[in-house]
Symmetry: C2
Subunit: 220 residues, 2 copies
């Protein structure tokens, strides 16, 4: 990940701070940034070949979104979640995501259902393959598309903030336990969308959230 300088330049038009933001965000969700890992400005400047100001802005943004945590001492790290934090995240997810699923069920067009099915297929393959990053990416994509269909940009943004918070912990859990035993209530959800059954969609997501977060909680 050192040759990104050239890659970054390639995407001209997109400001550097945005590129750094996306890159860092991916690292939090799917990459190698572990809970408790320190994030330094200068480290990112070197790793991404960007200037200080864009890196700085990206870090502030991700800190505001809860993906990073500013320690008092001008130091920044990936937050370490305790049991209380995970329980709170679960409660917050249960407050928001079933509502989004319900809205999605009321608004889903057939092509949306197709898109979600395709993602779920890829997700299953990633699980069988034991591909952790693939699982994380497709799982996130599934929920992201679902929340797009809900047409609720604010609640989607809040939910994304929650995902950024438990992302690193989820990745650790997957690394420990492999991709077997992962929750997958997506089939139920797709069926609920097809049937335009909001309540069923909400229940499916509720299951998915509860199982996923329980797994994180179990592994301390």
């Amino acid at each position: 990940m050192v040759e990104n300088a050239a890659e970054a330049r390639r995407q001209a038009g997109i400001p550097a701070h945005e590129q750094v933001y996306r890159s860092l965000r991916e690292s939090v969700l799917f990459g190698t940034l572990a809970p408790g890992e320190p994030v330094t400005i200068q480290g990112l400047v070197e790793r991404l070949g960007a200037g200080m100001t864009p890196v700085r802005e990206a870090i502030r943004r991700l800190t505001a979104e809860g993906a990073l945590q500013a320690l008092g001492n001008r130091r920044i790290e990936v937050p370490v979640l305790g049991a209380a934090a995970i329980e709170e995240l679960t409660e917050a997810r249960l407050a928001l995501e079933p509502r989004l699923a319900m809205r999605a069920a009321e608004r889903a067009a057939p092509e949306d259902v197709v898109r979600l099915s395709e993602i779920d297929t890829r997700l299953d393959r990633a699980i069988l393959r034991g591909d952790i990053e693939g699982y994380l990416r497709e799982n996130h994509a599934f929920h992201s598309v679902l929340n797009d269909v809900a047409q609720a940009p604010v609640m989607k943004a809040l939910t994304e903030s929650l995902w950024l918070r438990f992302g690193p912990s989820l990745r650790v859990v997957c690394g420990q336990m492999g991709t077997r035993h992962l929750p997958d209530c997506h089939k139920d959800l797709v069926r609920a969308l097809e049937a335009r059954d909001g309540a069923a969609a909400a229940r499916a997501i509720e299951q998915d959230v509860a199982q996923g977060m329980e797994m994180i909680l179990q592994s301390l």
Copy 2:
């Protein structure tokens, strides 16, 4: 608000970007920043007597929190809320704030109740006085303390993001309608906390949210 340079320097130890952030945040919640108003970096540099980098960081942070909106064209403004946005904000608030109130009721110490009562007293006085900024500040303080008592930092952060989003619109409404007819279910809430009745606390907040947001919705 031009002499803030000296004032800012006085608060040494707190980084400039943090000071700019707080100042700008106050402007969004209680100040004179109206929906649709453009926010320029240079304007803030001059107004606050700060450098570009700290201003830039503060803006990114507030943009991530939804207080500001980045238009595509490198322009930033205070978001203008339509009916759909207000309805979504209402749904999001109803998803989160009653839960926080319930948690607060389960955890409130007597001194917390006292603190909230005091704020509510000042709030009533501000209403009688017709002091809009005072109302906005005390109202926010009331809910902020309540959400602190709930001991749920993540859900509190999400809720703050919602307040930042409707803050400017609420202020406009108050300017149009004065401080009469403002919702105040805080007495019910304080009683519920005293009785440690979580369900009653949730109902009180639900009322408060519904009435307040309805008022914003009514005035377009």
